[in-house]
Amino acid sequence: MGLVLLVGVSGSGKSTFGARHFAPSQVISSDFCRALVSDDESDQSATKDAFDVLHYIVGTRLRRGLLTVVDATNVQRDARAALIRLAKDHDVLVDAIVLDVPEQVAIARNRARAERPFGDHVVTRQARELRRSMSRLRKEGFRRVHVLAGAEEIEAAQVVPERSWNDRRDLTGPFDVIGDVHGCRAELETLLADLGWELERDEAGRPVGAAHPEGRTAVFVGDLVDRGPDTPGVLRLVMGMVGSGAALCVSGNHEAKLVRALKGHAVRPTHGLAESLAQLAAESDDFRAATLRFLDGLISHYVLDEGRLVVAHAGLKEAYHGRSSGRVRAFALYGDTTGETDEYGLPVRYPWAREYRGRATVVYGHTPVPTAEWVNNTICLDTGVVFGGALTALRYPSRELVSVPAEREWYAPVRPLAPAVPDREPSVLDVRDVTGTQWVETGLAGRVKVPGVNAAAALEVLSRFAVDPRWLVYLPPTMSPAQSPPSGSAAPAREGLLEHPEQAFAEYAAAGVTRVVCEEKHMGSRAVAVLARDPSAAERRFGVGDGSTGVVHTRTGRAFFTGETGTALVERLRERCGPLFAELETDWLVLDCELLPWSAKALGLIREQFAAVGAAAAASFPALDSVLEAAAGRGLDVADLAAWSRHRAGNAAAFRDAYAAYCEPTAGLDGVRVAPFQVLAAQGRALALTEPHPWHLERLAGLGGDLVVPTRHRFVDLSSTVERQEATAWWEELTAGGGEGMVVKPAHPVGPRVQPGLKVRGRDYLRLVYGPDYLDALDALRERSLGRKRSLALREHALGLEALTRFVGGEPLWRVHQAVAGVLALESEPVDPRL
């Protein structure tokens, strides 16, 4: 990335030069912008607006990290200054290429071009301005000024792009990133040995280099020097490693200060500088000179591994990755300082990592912390070895931390070690993580779009009703019924039914699935149980430190029970899940369940929506019957009406029985049951993604007791007619007994386009969603369109699993929350609620 200014009078050949050496989209010309705003590229009255547009385009390109070439005369100092400022604002370097042709050549070229109706004097004036500029051009803030004198030199010139010094995306590791050493040579030797490095020593036995048999590269985060017992020893080792290419090193603030001291600037010998200077004084002049050369050549940050890893001493916000400017260097060396100082006289630093949303992992040191902890995909490795803490390395990409304790306290800390900025503060979530249209990258289905209007609805529900976001690591997707067969082909078995198991079997068979599991569909409320083994596991794994140990929430993220009842449910469920904790060697679990009875959670809905309708029906038909009877008694012909009334009354009675089957009295937890059917995740494993349903059902079958009820199920080989028929009979039995129906799922992992599950609901249950009289309109209902629902189910499934994957992978809360909020947002899509 970077900015290039072409400088030259009108007719000097800038556009030709730009077209020859750069891609058309890289070159932004003032003539082009003038035409954009005036339809006339020579309209000088549009110049101001044209440059506004030019600056906007250039600024946008620079922000996005693109190489950009400005094709304008740029002969005036003010014009150049504005563009140099723009480059600085985006922390990129700017070069000038001066095309210096004789005035007469330029004049001749312009005369030959009809679209340039201005007089020769314009070129003359521009040439005068250029000549005046030439002498001080190099002081205006360009990194380089290339002057091409005469047409021949211009013709012969070659443009070779060069990488910026901090751009080492070509190095892909693996890396051992090592925290602040501060002269603790002994600990560094131990750490390198622990990491598998082999040290090289000089004749005096001093380590002067190291190599790793597996070809790893070490990266030092800076602050090699000061405070500790052997700064020269550390430098000798690291300089050797960097010299041989085994290591990279970025500059820390202590190196920067030491450089100034070594160069003879007046520097206060505080914060351990005095120790370094004293130790170096005992070294040879050659060593001191080599040290100065080494330290002076350190750059402030590296971008490594295809841009996935950034190392800077005090960290670096995303906008600065790969950029070069004074403020980028200041950030990398000193952090995001506010200019204030704390009660110990040390600078106050803004917790930039909390707001970090970048994809690159940022590794840094600078601020001593008790233990290295991940904060939004960033980690501070300064564990204060010189203050008696430890020296820590991060193995990348495995993300393993390796520490060696300090041999002693080498230097008294000025202030106690600051705790890491906890990732876990509720306010670490930013409203921008969940508002506006979001694109969420998922492992299963690629980029999933979450429209802004849906995100807005999700935000309201999340913030008004949902449990603490730290517990919210998954939301279940919606589920579609199976496709009805095309009209006319309905098999006799399906007469009088809207949904039938054969539809699901046929659909899966067509998708190439050979074996499915049919799970009883409990008519309750979908529940996700998040359980930590104890408060410390809750703190460690979920960052919830208030002593709570889990939550059972609804499919919209609401707690089922609050207060003591909620706590009791979590406790009893954890107790029941004891064998699972042991078997999976985990200290936390996430379970997908159904919570029964339906009335435990949905009593309000049942009363207002279902019972009310039932009450109206139950009161109206007897009244109608009595007037019909009277009318018939008068000899009026109301037979049709009476038959209609009887039929509708029968439907209404079946409807009332349907909801009543799912209503049972509960008081607190008494009467509440939980039916788990999937172990979504445990320590280190996103089980919903990695294990097939039979595995889950087997694990859960062992849990029993008064709270947990099993999920009855059976497996079906889709090639076996008998098994299909038996499963259908089983479904008929379930639904005849008032059951909701069943869910059919592929028994083994399937591709991204196959529905994760299909529901097959019972004849009478469906009265609750399609209305008491739906069987009278079956033909029309069979034409129902499932496309939208099925597409949502796939996208929500992908988002839910993505949330689990991110959580299991230790990704920052905002990344987990973004995927969870995506599920909820898509759920707010207005699809037919009956599906």
């Binding site: 509720p426 306010s427 670490v428 979530l429 930013d430 409203v431 993580d433 508002t435 609805a457 935000l459 309201e460 529900v461 913030s463 008004r464 603490d468 976001p469 409320s525 499919r555 919209t556 609050t562 959670k601 949905a602 309000g604 009363r607 929506q609 019972a611 009310a612 309708v613 039932g614 009450a615 109206a616 029906a617 009161a619 109206s620 038909f621 109608l624 009595s626 007037v627 009318a631 009026l636 012909d637 109301v638 009406l641 209609w644 509708r648 009543a660 209503c663 969603v769 399609y770 209305g771 008491p772 009289d773 009278d776 309109a777 909820l824 759920e827 707010s828 899509e829 207005p830 609620p833």
Partner: protein
């Protein structure tokens, strides 16, 4: 779906003339959603009863409303329209008995002009507000009202009564008046209409209710309910989420059973405005602005140069925009106001840089475990010069006898808690100390010797 009209005015069979329907025939009338049938279960000289039966075809009813209708939710398919005397019945009544409703009767005009003994029975009347409301609405029109609640489900007696009543009206009333009253009042009691409402609804109301509505003591309620509150598409998404979660969509902003009436709201608003003015604040952030009551008051005072309203509900913000009349404002005035959706539990850089932030009746809507996040976002991140917090004083609730029946014992079903004065003082002190604010707490509203003022006010000033 059923309504009967009886008279004992002799000869009672004249009812057939008045209704323009022959007592010995069964007559059918096509309706957009099914069929209306009129017949007479009894027709003697002494007593004659006409029955209007609605045969609703649920499939046709569901089809008649598009995907964009305001209740694209389960209620569209599972509803009482087949059974209850709703707006469908009101429409059928107007259609089938149109001439009778106009009061014209060529053969019996005198009778049509006279008040006659009438008895009207509606076995299932949806009545939001219960039997009492039915009485309040019909009694002033000269009816003796019997309204008997229908139980929700006799198998679950603990569920109590449904929103339906069995209504019987009897009295001496002109038949045309009775029909017009029913036409207007059935949907009013139901408070839900099956068709979109346009501006012509007002004309319809005046046509049907012109004679008797103006003097009706409940005319305000009747007008408001009849014209309804336009539903918005925005509500669809939320209603759907509520349903998925096994809940009912609720709308606390509009449907407040809070016994706190206008005077206290106004006092609270005025107290906050005066306080902000006294603080010298020129930029004010109203967090949880609702429909913009405080915003409007702030905009009316020139010293507040920048006024920003934030609410978590996009729908509520639209209501605020309408209420404040943003689109009618001049450019300069409009530029003082900003509205955006935001949630107090998420860090939001747009909250920064205000002289004062107001949390008026907001904190009690936050679950206690999430309150810490709100404190952090407001006091820790946004860090306005001052924060003004108002919240109910729970001790004062004993002065609201109506609260005894509220499900959570609090002033609003969405309140997650209400604080005593001691609890509020404690919270203020802790938050102030934690985030570096000096706190002062006091009350708003007429204070009571024992239980203090109805509303508590906390003023936080940044140190």
């Amino acid at each position: 779906m059923l309504l009967t009209i009886s008279t004992t005015h002799e000869p009672a069979t004249d009812l057939g003339y008045l209704l323009h329907k022959h007592p010995d025939r069964v007559q059918e009338f096509d309706q957009s959603f099914g069929r209306a049938v009129v017949f007479y279960p009894e027709a003697s000289e002494q007593r004659c009863t006409a029955a209007l039966v609605l045969q609703v075809d649920p499939a046709r009813l569901a089809r008649s409303r598009g995907r964009r209708s305001p209740d694209f939710s389960l209620a569209q398919h599972v509803n009482d329209r087949s059974y209850a005397a709703s707006s469908l019945l009101a429409v059928a009544l107007a259609d089938v008995f149109g001439t009778a409703r106009s009061g014209r009767c060529r053969s019996r005009q005198e009778l049509a002009d006279a008040a006659i003994p009438l008895r009207i029975e509606v076995p299932v009347l949806p009545c939001r507000g219960g039997p009492d409301l039915a009485r309040r609405v019909f009694a002033p029109l000269g009816w003796r009202v019997e309204a008997e609640p229908v139980p929700l489900d006799e198998r679950f007696p603990e569920w109590g009564d449904s929103r339906y009543v069995r209504l019987t009206l009897s009295g001496e009333v002109r038949l045309a008046d009775a029909l017009n009253q029913l036409h207007v009042l059935l949907p009013v009691l139901d408070e839900s209409k099956h068709y979109w409402q346009g501006t012509d609804e007002i004309d319809k109301l005046l046509r049907s209710g012109g004679d008797w509505l103006a003097g009706h003591p409940e005319r305000e309620l009747i007008t408001r309910r009849y014209l309804g509150r336009g539903g918005g598409l925005a509500s669809v998404a939320l209603a759907r989420l509520a349903e998925l979660g096994g809940d009912l969509a609720e709308d606390p902003a509009e449907d407040s059973p809070e016994p706190v009436r206008a005077p206290l709201r106004a006092q609270r608003r005025e107290a906050v405005v005066a306080l902000l003015s006294g603080l010298g604040a020129t930029s004010v952030l109203d967090l949880g602005c609702g429909t913009g009551e405080l915003l409007a008051a702030l905009l009316a005072r020139p010293e507040f140069a920048r006024v920003t309203g934030v609410d978590v509900s996009a729908r509520t913000l639209q209501a605020a925009e309408r209420r404040i009349g943003l689109d009618r404002m001049g450019e300069r005035q409009a530029s003082r106001l900003t509205l955006f959706q935001g949630a107090l539990t998420y860090r939001d850089e747009r909250f920064a840089g205000y002289d004062a932030a107001v949390l008026m009746e907001v904190v009690e809507h936050v679950d206690p475990p999430r309150l810490e996040a709100v404190e952090r976002v407001v006091f820790g991140e946004a860090r306005p010069g001052a924060v003004v917090v108002t919240t109910p004083n729970r001790e004062y609730n004993v002065r609201y006898p109506g609260l005894a029946g509220s499900p959570n014992g609090l002033r609003h079903p969405d309140h997650r808690f209400e604080w005593t004065r001691a609890e509020f003082a404690h919270w203020c002190a802790r938050v102030g100390a934690q985030w570096g604010y000096t706190v002062e707490a006091r009350g708003i509203g007429e204070p009571d010797d024992q239980v203090g003022a109805p509303t508590q006010l906390g003023v936080f000033r940044r140190d």
